[in-house]
Every structure is written in structure tokens, then in C-alpha cells.
Amino acid sequence: MRARAVAAQLALLAAVAFVVWYLASNTVANLEARRIASGFGFLAREAGFEIGESPFLSYGAADSYARAILIGLINTFRVALIGVVLATVLGTLLGLARLSRNWLLAKFAAGYVELLRNVPLLVQLFFLYAVITENLPGPRAALSPLPGVFLSNRGFAFPVLQPHAAHAWIGVALLAGMVLAWLVARWARRRQALTGQPFPAFAAGAALVLGLPLVVFLAAGAPLALARPSLQGFNFTGGAVLSPEFATLLGGLTLYTAAFIAEIVRAGVQAVDRGQFEAAYSLGLPRPRTMRLVILPQALRVIIPPLTSQYLNLTKNSSLAVAIGYPDLVSIANTTMNQTGQAIEGIAIIMAVYLSISLSISVLMNWYNKRIALKGARA
């Protein structure tokens, strides 16, 4: 019986492999018959088009297609990473707000979720983009709420610190402060468990995290020179600019995904048995501690798996950037495909990249999920 089952599965696997092989070889044969170029050789050729935003890595029209696609990848990562963090924060706040005893807050959160969750993301993006580009003035009439800060339909221009050698050391100090704070907290927990004596670990940690960089900052002579944006010719130069496309995409993805995360958080908290609240209260734990020590650890077990798929959704939805002109991976790969005519290769690159991003997020979240799972419980 078992042998038959194995044989059937092997046969199915072979059949699938055959179909894949057949389609692939047929495609290659057809491409050759029509003399359509194939292969990944085009990646090394000069791209010849410009890209609007290339943070962290310089790019010009004389660079290769491979570099252009890399810029697209960085842009995708940038919006997805920041989006995931913001959506999680906003979603958690909204989820908890919907459970609040404050009527106005709870109804507002409910209304937000229902509205944002039920309007297609693409429509929201077009709407946000129109709001930004149609309502804000041109660069010559830019709003300037603070000196050096400009808001126009070219984006949000703001001053940034002029790079200084001490900045790297301040970063190192911040990192060291965080590690030390973590060690202190661990030590304090252990001491309290052994001796029952509390230690103000939070205050000590905060002092370390903030104090160490501050000391380095002052020791370096407080380097606070600002690079201010100024209007030169058509646009702002100097400082940093948050483009309308990036702001639209980030805002759209965050607001949309936060609505789903809010529901997941609410469901997670409500999934914790009422008895757990009552037991915590009867032990004399105040409400915030009840949440942090009793409810959330149990709620997280319910929250993490669906949260993972929201992170995946957000990342994949970032490909809607094409519609509003944010140069993400798909947008640049599309342009590349069109200039070179090599659609199959381009799509293969897009698929491979999204697959690896998605699998990485899955692996990470599964690892986290396993860590917070009930010890000894069966998966």
C-alpha cells in the first residue's frame, strides 16, 4: 500500500518535472526560431536611462542594467523595510485602540480599519499621489513651516547633518549603549529572581543608550553643521528630499497594511482567555503589566503567523510603485525588459527577487514564532 503511494507520488513529481522541462525547452526553441535574443548577457550592457532616486549607491545612465536593477532592489527594500516597521507600530496602536474603553477612540479605529481595508490599494495610491502633487505648491512657492524645511510638489526637503568623522563614533557609542543596557536588564532580572530586590533597569538602560552617544558627541566638539536645502534653478539642492512618489508609496502601504495588522492584533488579544486577565488582576498586577507580562506573550502566538503574511503582502504590494512612478524593482525591470526585449529573463529576475525576499521574511518570522511558542507544546 505504502509502496504504491510512494510510486504514485514519484510519478506525479516526474510528470510535473516533465511539464516544466517541456515548456522551458519549447520556449527556448520558439525564441530561437523567431530570432528573439535570450540569455542574461544584457545585464552587463549600458542601461542608458536615468533613475529618479538612487539612495546609498550612485547611478548614472552610463551604468549597466545590472546596476540599474540593483538600484531598483534597494528602492524596494527601502520602502518595504520602513513600511513594515511603521505599519506594525500604527497597526498595533489601532488594534489596541479598537479594544479601548474610550468610545470615540474605539469607533475611530473601527472606522479606519473598515475604510482603509475595503478600498483597493491602487486607488488609495492614486488618491494620495493626486493629493500631494495637486495640492502642494510648486518649488518656487514652496511652503516653509520651519527655516530650511520646504514642502512642495517636488517633495519634502529638509536639512541634514553635514557628514562628520565623529558621527560614526556616535553610532558605535549608541550600539554599545544598547548592548550594555541589554546586559544590565538581564542582570537585574536575574538578581530580582534570586534576591527579590528590584533594580531600576529601565532608567539605567535609558541613561546608557542616550548618555554614551551624548558623551562622544560632546567630546567631538558637538559637530552640528547642517546641510540646508535651497532653491537653485528648478529644484532644491542640498539637504535631503523625500520625493512625492516615495512618500505616497510609503504612506499608502503603511496605512493600508496597518488596517489589517490592527485586526490581527485585536484578534490576538481577544483570543487570550478572559480568565488570564482575571487571574492577573487577582494577583494584583496593574493593567499595563498585565498586558505586557501576561496577555501580549500569549497574544503574540496568535498574532505572529498572520502578521508574517501581512509583511509579505506589504513587500509584494510595493510593486504597485509602477503606477505612480516610484523606481522600484518592478518598474526598473519593466523598463529593462522593454529596452532589451528580454521579457522572460526580466520576469525571471523579478520572480527570483520577490521569492527570496518573501522566503527570507518567512524564515525570520517562523524562527521568531518558534521562539515565542509555548515551550513543550506541540506545533
Partner: protein, 336 residues
């Protein structure tokens, strides 16, 4: 059960992919009864649906002319609106029979995409449009400007080339749909909108809130010969599309229009006799009806008529798109 399903899937896949090669385009077109024509999603004067949903434009006329030549009925066309990015894949994959979508003829496209350009139905060049209030008078003053452009076009590449050659920089805002990219320009997101001059004139005439507020700069930075495209490897279909295009030019040169061609059926001029199919068997050589060219002109008109009805109302001038006899570049090889 599963095994049987898998076998069925294989069989379907094998059948689906083996049909790709089988038929010539002309036979396929004849058997389905219409020409599937890839057009622009909406560029006034080239291909755009009118208020009643009927497609209008010189590219649309090219499609109708092909249908008139093949079926003797210019209405036997179905249109597939395509974005700049979708167009070549649609043609390569066989979704459309011919692409008439203001597409620039370049060597890369002609050789590496598995496509053939049949000729030119509009000689164009790339230009820049700016709001009048910016006070810009030359493209050389555009250093640092934000420029709206559509992706996957030669426009995008020419733009980068031009700025590199003139040691200037710019910020591109790249949006795929024509409607969205022009919205971005008219709302002030960009200082400049660039595309072929024909596209600028058409956009200004049909989409600008106030057309007089926008100027097209004098520099034309590229050659953009626009024309219909067919797949590689089907020479008969290639010939039909090419000579349909030439027939419209030849008709204008011979003075044949949709209104007078009826009387010219009995003309004694040998060129006209050959053209309308009264003598010779040019149609048969192309595997078409001998009155193919007559049908094209009777139902669609000659090139000049198509230009007058579609482009002239938007403010286009004939310019280099005039016949060679009038100082333009439009020249058809002899039909004999």
C-alpha cells in the same frame, strides 16, 4: 487519479505550445475573420476612441487599411490598446497580428526583438514641452529640471543621451500610463514633459487645461520614424502590411481619394488601372483580391486624407510628412 490528471495536463500543454508555429498570419487572420491590431491606449490623432467608442487616428487607419486589403471590409478590425511596455510582447506572443502604435523604428527593435518594421507612417522627433510661465526658451536651459517621461520608450533613452551629451543633469519621473504621466506634468510635479513632438502637440491640444499656457521648445533631439510592426518570419504578411501602407501614399501621389476612386475605376491612366486592379494581377501576387488597393482607398482614404481628418485638426502641419513631390519624405516604391 493524480497521475491521470498529470498526463492530461501534459497533453494540454503539448497541444497548446505546438500550435504556436502552425499557421501563417494571413491564413490565421482569414480564418478568424478580422485583423487584431495593437494600438495606443489613447493618443489623439494616432489612436484614440471617440465619444462613441469608435477608434480614430492615423494608426487606426493603418489597421483599417489592412482589413480593407485582406477582407475588402475596413471594419473587420479588433483593437488591443497597449502601453509602451506591453506592445512588443503582445506582438511577439501572437496576441496581435500587427502593431500600429506610434512605435519608433530602431535597429535594436528590428533585429533583437524578433520583429520587422514595415515602413514609416509618421516621421517624428522628440521634443520638450514646458509651462510658459517658467520662461524657458531652449532645451539647453533645462539643467536640473524634473522631467516627466514614459518608461520603455526610446524617449527615455534619448533624454538621458541628450543631457549626458550636454553635460546637464535632470530628475526623471517615470510613469507608465500616458494619462497619469500627463496628469503629473499638468499638476506641476514636473517642469518638463518629453515625448515625440506629435505626442506633445496631441497632448497639449487634447489634455491641457489651457493649451496656450504650454510651449514646445524648438529643439528636436532625435529622429523618430514611427511605423507599423509585424513578427519576423512571415514574409507574406510583412508584404501585405508594407504595401498597404505604400498604397495609401501612392494613392495620394496619383490623386486618388476615397471620393473620386469610384470614377477612376474606368481611368485610362495605366498606373491607375494597375492600382485599382483593372489590369494586371498585383493582388494575386500578394494572395489578395485584385481590388485590394481600391478597397483601401475607397474605405479608408489615401495618406493625405487620413492626415487631414486625424492630425490637422489638432494643429499638426504636414512638414516632412508631405509627399516627396511636395518636399517631404513620404515616398512609395512603384506599384507595378
Amino acid at each position: 487519479m493524480k497521475v491521470r490528471l498529470a498526463v492530461a495536463v501534459c497533453a494540454v500543454a503539448a497541444f497548446a505550445s505546438s500550435t504556436l508555429h502552425a499557421q501563417s498570419t494571413l491564413d490565421a487572420v482569414k480564418s478568424k475573420g478580422y485583423v487584431q491590431c495593437g494600438v495606443n491606449t489613447g493618443l489623439a490623432g494616432f489612436s484614440q476612441p471617440d465619444s462613441r467608442g469608435a477608434w480614430k487616428g492615423i494608426d487606426v487607419d493603418a489597421c483599417r487599411a489592412i482589413a480593407a486589403a485582406v477582407f475588402g471590409d475596413a471594419t473587420k478590425v479588433r483593437y488591443t490598446p497597449l502601453t509602451a511596455q506591453q506592445r512588443f510582447t503582445a506582438l511577439q506572443s501572437g496576441e496581435i497580428d500587427v502593431l500600429a502604435r506610434n512605435t519608433t523604428w530602431t535597429v535594436t527593435r528590428d533585429t533583437s526583438l524578433g520583429l520587422n518594421f514595415v515602413g514609416v507612417n509618421y516621421y517624428d522627433g522628440q521634443g520638450f514641452m514646458v509651462p510658459k510661465k517658467l520662461g524657458v526658451t531652449s532645451a539647453k536651459q533645462l539643467n536640473g529640471a524634473t522631467i516627466c517621461v514614459q518608461p520603455g520608450t526610446t524617449t527615455e533613452l534619448n533624454l538621458a543621451d541628450y543631457f549626458r551629451a550636454n553635460k546637464m543633469s535632470f530628475k526623471p519621473v517615470v510613469i507608465e500610463k500616458l494619462e497619469e504621466v500627463t496628469n503629473a506634468y499638468f499638476s506641476g510635479r514636473c517642469d518638463v514633459f518629453t515625448t515625440d513632438v506629435s505626442g506633445l502637440v496631441s497632448t497639449r491640444g487634447s489634455r491641457a487645461p489651457k493649451p496656450a499656457d504650454h510651449v514646445i521648445l524648438p529643439e528636436v533631439i532625435s529622429k523618430e520614424p514611427l511605423g507599423p510592426v509585424v513578427r519576423h518570419g512571415d514574409d507574406r504578411w510583412y508584404d501585405i502590411v508594407k504595401w498597404t501602407l505604400f498604397a495609401m501614399l501612392e494613392a495620394e501621389e496619383l490623386g486618388l481619394t476615397s471620393k473620386n476612386i469610384e470614377q477612376n475605376l474606368t481611368s485610362t491612366n495605366p498606373s491607375i488601372q494597375r492600382f485599382v486592379g483593372a489590369t494586371g494581377d498585383i493582388g494575386k501576387m500578394m494572395s489578395l483580391d485584385n481590388r485590394w488597393a481600391y478597397n483601401v482607398v475607397k474605405q479608408v482614404g489615401n495618406y493625405g486624407e487620413s492626415f487631414e481628418t486625424n492630425l490637422a485638426p489638432l494643429g499638426f502641419e504636414r512638414g516632412i510628412n508631405n509627399l516627396w513631390t511636395n518636399g517631404g519624405l513620404m515616398y512609395a516604391p512603384p506599384i507595378r
